[in-house]
Symmetry: C2
Subunit: 136 residues, 2 copies
DNA sequence: TTTATATTTGTAATCATTACATTTATGTTT
DNA sequence: AAACATAAATGTAATGATTACAAATATAAA
């Protein structure tokens, strides 16, 4: 499903040279749809690539985002998260356990008032509250 | 329109003792609907209150938020902004000039799929792109 | 006036991110 | 293959927003 070749190809198609580090980082995002932070990604991958630097993770994610391969997710202070899912969806963050859930919504029906002549490039719908597990 | 008494009363109604600092900070948010950062608020008010500490601004805004008097707005990394507008509305941030615009949207028609038994306490709709001024 | 409590203040610590210079890897030319 | 140029990765130091914490000040109560 996500072979190294496929991943490298996707990276190439985004105009990025597929180095080992870049393949591993993108692979991690594709296989783990958990909206990880930079720190989390680094800690997971440093086992695989002992020489990995956190700066590389930062640079790589910034590059991926610039080239449209992933999106970033600013849902709470002091933590940028990353998401390789490219379909439009919303994010729910549980205030108690901190887990982030994806959800679908009827974005086609959304209507914005007073944004004529605005060039909208990104839409973020973030919900907060408590998840079913924490509600019990 | 926003007299010191009215402001003090609103703060009291939120269960907060209306000190000078608290009144000035809330007054600033009410009179300037510009989604300011902590730093901006501090720099504006320190003229008025020369002994003001930035810690007080942080503490006061946190308290206001906890008591539901204001909301915070996390639309970009490294900057929490605050908003005293209590009606539901979205925020558009221009990538070029950085200005944040309010807009209305049809939130009543919004439908979330897969969030049964989730307790939704806050909804944030953030758009990004370029504003008409920067599009020219 | 004492005493207790709440609020404000200033400094130091924390932590995510960025800047920058060095090292390593990759690709090209001769 | 060697020399060179370029790109990518690395490690350390700097930045900047936020928080922790203890001391000082203000407010309220006895």
């Amino acid at each position: 499903m996500f072979s190294a070749q496929n991943i490298g190809k996707k990276i190439s198609e985004a105009g990025i040279k597929p180095s080992l580090q870049r393949i591993k980082i993108y692979e991690f995002l594709l296989k783990n749809n958990i909206h990880p932070t930079v720190d989390f990604i680094y800690n997971q991958l440093v086992n695989d690539i002992p020489t990995l630097s956190k700066t590389t993770v930062y640079n790589t994610l910034k590059l991926f985002e610039k080239q449209g391969l992933i999106i970033n997710l600013i849902i709470d202070e002091n933590e940028i998260r990353y998401d390789a899912m490219k379909n439009i969806h919303g994010h729910f963050k549980c205030d108690k356990c901190g887990k982030i859930y994806d959800f679908e919504y009827n974005h086609m029906q959304l209507e914005f008032l007073g944004l004529n002549h605005f060039n909208i490039l990104k839409t973020e719908l973030n919900l907060k509250g408590t998840c079913p597990e924490c509600n019990q």
